[in-house]
Subunit: 265 residues, 2 copies
């Protein structure tokens, strides 16, 4: 029997991770749980007691992981489920840019660790061969002009099994790559990448973020369909503006899309 | 002894208020307290149990009222302290516009009720003769692309005494008007006015909000100084953009100001 170099039950050695991490802010403090309801919910508790910027909550299993619109996010053993705590000195409209910086970091980490090209699906998913491999949930607490804190929940199907009913729309890195992948390598790579992009964001280098983000999409100049609140609109994807909104060329002219579910045509 | 038409200890008759209120959404449900820690904090609790949009929390006394940057807001008997709960189907960058719509509503209510001209001081105060008479604290809970809920805390010095140490910078309506003012009349007027402006906001009639807002400032084309995080910038106030940011003409060119404390020069 072939010896597995990276076992499916690979365990988190937090001390080793923090020691090897090359980052300025992100991941200097990591809270690890074998099982938790939701890493974002625990992050919210930590913030109330006050915790440093860049603090991470990571768990092997989430029993009540959440996605966009309060959809349940299935988070069994073998996947990577964690949250990042930030106190960005930025206005509320930067929320989407934070999500974009995280998306880039996850896509690059997948590339560095597995060689696979994950594509960013606006606003907050990553796909491999058109199936969802990762989702990002950014939660903001803000006044009208300033974010007080942001919690970014990141879920990645690494080695975990995909539920039968999700198999047509979701995949895992293991399944697409035909071998076990190190959750820890991806984890470290995301933290280091995001440390870099978050710094760019704080220095208002939005063009750099936007350019990198666009390099990870595959819809530039392609026709897409956006659905929100039963309204459906079709158009050619022209790019994103400084707030992370989609710019679509439609039969009604150029339209800005703030949120919605997109479908490739 | 002269008979007082409006007594200082005027009491809230919530049943009567809701019966007479001409609004579509705002104030259909009102929670009243003689004393509470903070109406915004109680509003947050109500949201967790779920409450309708437009629900109000009002109190005679707040023991821990808060202003911007967690500054304490002195909230003794005689003033008007309340919060409005909203679930706006708007992106996080609309937070400032909500604050603007509330500012207009408060300024108009003061005008209708007392005849006095309150001026809006960006971002969230109202002044009479350059002294603060009201403050607005908008708190947002959002994802990166959508506000989940907004709680707007409104504090107005109506008939309450102003602390000695605040007398050079703060005032009450009673003091400026030389007679008691009905808290309830102002309260009703704010709710009805905001019902109107919130509807404009939801219908994306930003130009109307901006125009009305500008009519209540007295700094258009005047020189002001903005301080934020020890950075100071001077310039001529040119207006506000669609996100509620200040546009200043400075020696470095046109500059957009997102937050800060402004001073008239």
């Amino acid at each position: 029997m072939e010896k597995k170099l990276i076992p499916e039950n690979e365990l988190f050695d937090i001390e080793k991770i923090t020691k090897n991490l090359r980052s300025k802010i992100i991941g200097k403090k990591i809270h690890y749980f074998k099982k938790i309801s939701s890493t974002n919910s625990y992050a919210k508790k930590l913030i109330k007691e006050f915790t440093d910027e860049g603090t991470i909550v990571v768990a092997d299993v989430q029993t009540q992981g959440r996605g966009r619109k309060n959809r349940l996010w299935h988070s069994p053993f073998g996947g990577l489920w964690f949250s990042i705590i930030l106190y960005p000195d930025l206005p509320p409209e930067s929320g989407m840019l934070i999500t974009m910086a995280v998306s880039i970091s996850v896509a690059q980490a997948i590339k560095e660790t597995t060689g696979m090209n994950a594509k960013i699906k606006w606003p907050n998913d990553l796909l491999i061969r058109n199936k969802k491999v990762s989702g990002i949930l950014t939660e903001l607490d803000a006044s009208s002009y300033k974010i007080n804190y942001a919690i970014i929940g990141i879920g990645i199907n690494v080695n975990n099994k995909i539920n039968d009913e999700l198999k047509t729309i979701a995949c895992s890195l293991k399944q697409e790559n035909n071998k076990d992948i190190s959750r820890i390598k991806i984890f470290i790579s995301i933290l280091e990448n995001f440390d870099f992009y978050y710094d760019k964001l704080k220095n208002k280098d939005l063009d750099f973020i936007k350019k990198t983000w666009l390099s990870f999409t595959n819809i530039l100049n392609k026709k897409i369909q956006v659905t929100e609140n039963k309204k459906v609109i079709e158009g050619v994807f022209l790019g994103i503006n400084d707030l992370g909104h989609l710019i679509l060329d439609t039969k009604f002219g150029e339209i800005k899309i703030i949120t919605g579910d997109i479908k490739y045509l």
